[in-house]
Symmetry: C7
Subunit: 96 residues, 7 copies
């Protein structure tokens, strides 16, 4: 089963704590909003601007990214895979 | 009886739990907003941008899509068919 | 007496329950916002976009349409005719 | 004394109940927002769009119009004439 | 001392009750927002539109205008002159 | 140490009561929002409009200006100099 | 590990009190919002304007900047480095 995001939406797989340690992101326990790490699974065509131009997303499949913790909508397939659908603007940075 | 959506609106038929299992989407029971699955029945001409351009929708008839659970307006025909009218932006992804 | 709507406004006649049955729309009694059925009596020239373009309405006189139940402003002529003035964006779909 | 409205503003004279009956508008006593009838006395040059274009108003002096009851700002001259200054978008329709 | 308003701001001198009677505006004691009368002292260059165009104000020095009573910021010079700085959009009409 | 404001931001030095008297602005004790007087120390490049044009600020270094009393962010250097960073739109007028 | 901000986002390292004294910014203890000092570590490609133009950021790597104290999202690497991801508009000024 494939999930193709629409517009400026991005499908990601949230990386669990172990992955997080491997790629080196540690999220400090503070009062600030904390981002989470995820891997890009699929990208939409991009946001439609008022000029009619479609702005292709900056991120691409397999990018590892940081996003705001409370962003997005959770979906999961019958195979038990869980994903999150974000808007591109919810993604803060690409990490490598 | 035909229902032709206007502008960026999309007419969909919500898929019931059985369909949902067949296409493999399982919606986890979490605090996050949960999307629902639907099939596209008819599409509007698209959103009118400030430039005057009409942006044709990305989705087409027969696409299966995910949309935000509390989106849209319910209508049903005298034949007992129930539909939902969404805005294209309420649709998160096409599934296949 | 004639009523000519301005801009993106649309003059409609709300169809009563009998008409509603004939055209086949049945509105289920649910928690969702319910649309109503109406016939277009007159249309404005359309919305003025920021580019200066006037966007002609998609609907035309005699179209039967669905609109959000709490939309619009009621007017009635001395002949006892009651109408509603809607904005085009309050109209969800054309039915036929 | 003359009052020249600015931008998209329109100067109107509200028509009293008698005029209202003559032109045939009867405002039903319902829960919906009720429009009032008025005659256009003077119009501004029109709204300035972001493109810099000035959009001339659709209404002209002597038009009879319907507007939202709680719209506008009341002014009256020393001769005892009372007027209302509306924005063009507060005007719903021209009647004839 | 000179005060040059910036952008779409306008410097006005509020006219007192006596001036108001001479120019013939009488403000009725109603529940509606009441405008006040003022004379234009200086005008800004105008509003900068998103297109980059600067839209020169419709009003000019010495115009007598009506403006919303609670609009603007009061300033006064050491000579005891009191002024108000308005945005052009707060000005409803020019009177003559 | 130099502070260079970004975008449409403006660095000002608030003028104390004595300066205020010399330049002749007296702020009446009323219920209205009161502006304060300041001198421009540095200006940003200007606001970026949606068209991509950068709109250079109307004010320049050494201008004396009036601004809304509760606007801006205070900073001060180790030499004990205190400044305020405003947005250009917070500045009401240039005085001379 | 590298963190590449997206769009108009900027990655900064907040400078501690000692650095702050060296560069000469002293933040007074007042009721006003206080900015903090930081060094730019990485910049996004810039904001996408409605015209489709990408507006490159005004700041560059190694710039020392002032930003609003409660802005941004904290992240830290496993090496123990703590960073903040800001939007360019949260940055008030470059200091030197």
């Amino acid at each position: 089963m494939a999930i193709k995001p629409l517009g400026d939406r991005i499908l990601v797989k949230v990386l669990d704590a172990k992955d997080k340690t491997e790629s080196g992101i540690y999220l400090p326990d503070s009062a600030k909003e904390k981002p989470q790490e995820a891997e890009i699974i699929a990208v939409g065509q991009g946001k439609v601007l008022e000029s009619g131009k479609v702005q292709a997303p900056e991120v691409k499949v397999k990018d590892k990214v940081l996003f705001g913790k409370y962003s997005g909508t959770a979906v999961s397939t019958k195979e038990g895979e869980e994903y999150l659908i974000l808007r591109e603007d919810d993604i803060l940075a690409v990490i490598s």
